[in-house]
Symmetry: C2
Subunit: 391 residues, 2 copies
Amino acid sequence: MSNPATGVTAALGFRAAGVAAGLKTSGKSDVAVVVNDGPLKNAAAVFTSNRVAAAPVHWSRRVIGDGRADAVLVNSGGANACTGPEGFQNTHASAERTAELLGISATDVLVCSTGLIGDQLPMDKLLPGVEAAVQALTVDGGTEAANAIMTTDTVAKEAVRNGNGWTVGGMAKGAGMLAPALATMLVVISTDAVLEPSQLDGALREACRLSFDRVDSDGCMSTNDSVILLASGASGQSPVRTEFQQALTELCQDLARQLIADAEGASHDIAIRTFNAANEEQAVLVAKTVARSNLFKAAIFGQDPNWGRVLAAVGTVPEALAAFDPDQLDVSMNGVQICRNGAIGDSRDLVDLSGREVRVDIDLKAGEAEATIWTNDLTHDYVHENSAYSS
Amino acid sequence: MSNPATGVTAALGFRAAGVAAGLKTSGKSDVAVVVNDGPLKNAAAVFTSNRVAAAPVHWSRRVIGDGRADAVLVNSGGANACTGPEGFQNTHASAERTAELLGISATDVLVCSTGLIGDQLPMDKLLPGVEAAVQALTVDGGTEAANAIMTTDTVAKEAVRNGNGWTVGGMAKGAGMLAPALATMLVVISTDAVLEPSQLDGALREACRLSFDRVDSDGCMSTNDSVILLASGASGQSPVRTEFQQALTELCQDLARQLIADAEGASHDIAIRTFNAANEEQAVLVAKTVARSNLFKAAIFGQDPNWGRVLAAVGTVPEALAAFDPDQLDVSMNGVQICRNGAIGDSRDLVDLSGREVRVDIDLKAGEAEATIWTNDLTHDYVHENSAYSS
């Protein structure tokens, strides 16, 4: 019988919970705990490459060093970033409290925080919240946990993939500062497959490369990005490597797509695909450069198929970093080839940008590689939410 | 007696004009001509490093090759970028017509265009406009010319510096796509000093490096950026090299500052200064990275002294590219040190961001170099203007 639980508790061997500890002024849930009941306690994680990394990132990097993690503590309502030695002590104390309640070692407790940068966490609220969350742990608590890690997200994000006798499921939060390098935002994934830490690590890095690393909502890399993968081995099944890789990559792409669909203030999800690139790295670079053009993103908000701004962005990529002839570039939007050989193509009046999803295809005519980067438009609401951010 | 004319006709030996040719739907002036009456016809220019360069940039790069230019033709109401062979032929035809009317060679006519990318210029309007502009040339036509090169600019931009018996003056247009590399936007500068093309070229590159290259309004590099410097020698004075360099640099900084003050939709001008950097290149890189953070720029729009977003942006600069210890960074806003040693400093309530000008000072504690980058906030009006761009 398959497990009816969702997200991070879809796989066997995991319990989770989410509770309201008062860190969010809204009173919504803000503390989540995920526990791996084994028999295996294997884990892997990737973290932000931002040099200004939050206290919980510094802590969790140490925890994951031995490939073992028994539990993950996540709080929203405060990023615990740029908080100095006191911030690190607070992370340490919250891991200690979690470990004490669960009867495990603090050095096996991963910690994630999300929210405003530059404020100390209210420990008088967080620690009782940890206690309440541990008491509330259940095998179908995945959605409760997914709700508790939200900040400006409007919906909880979960996904599940089933393999041959094993399951992998996860939860994510995003909304702002979506431009990961290596990892992104907060993501916790669990599987009941039998996998060693080194297998988890390799599979997670490959899956991130093809999912979260292909998302660039606003060009801003977070101080707190963490993607965690826990394996309980509770299914007793050792998956075929390629099958697990495919399921994990699809799961991550599913979560990444949900992050873009719920990005702060966005009114369009934009898939920028570069093809016929000399190699995949160049395809990614060109697409990301377009994804970071405010002028292009504002035009899409206005439903203006302004291909000139696509070309202006592509043209800023130095010759040493991507091969293409500016006079050979083709650009299509939602299937209409509005730019041909670097100049005017079919009528822009044929392009319909009224839907949520926009597809931009850029033909570099320099090789056979391709890549797709997902981004959002630049809207009034993005400016509004980020000029009035306070939670 | 000093010349009462302003901007590009402040120096002796120059005539200019601006007329309405109907390229702008608003009916405002849109064609400018600047003529160097000599006796010298020396010139230098720097152009956009965007690989997708407009037809007039391709043309003008050839013209400037021999260090001579007799005239500059500028049109607004159309960028003539991404217009293919027809676009280049149109630029060539407009240079030919200008040359014919002035009795000079087309290969001595620099051409600049600005406006929407991806439309052909209406030559049936432009060529009569060139004729009208040439007929209207006067020794005090600088301001008329400065008006005619505006797009979404709200005010004409001119500046003048006087040396020991010589003058240097210029005009500029900016407003959008303000993130130059090498050159920026359209700028035409003239001097009556006696200077050789190689002297002009060296002085112009140095001045641009310290002015237009230190401006990054929206991270978007234009296809049409051109900065032109013409020398007539009409004063008969050969300036001291350092004096001319200083005057030219100050003039360019003056114009650059005017561009930021009139950037599309901006409500704050932000000076991001990094100091105690290992070298100037690193100081520039760190400041530019902050200048490109949409989250930081939206916070300033909301008058939120969100130093966490400054640190999050600084942290994205790889170790190989800039030396600093994240736990040693200090950040001040308008003089209040709100971040000390990478963590919480003085109260953010002390920071007043109600004025137009904002100063952010970032202490890298890694050396003795410094640099200041000017940028703007990210506002509702920026999104509005660029989602509804149509002129």
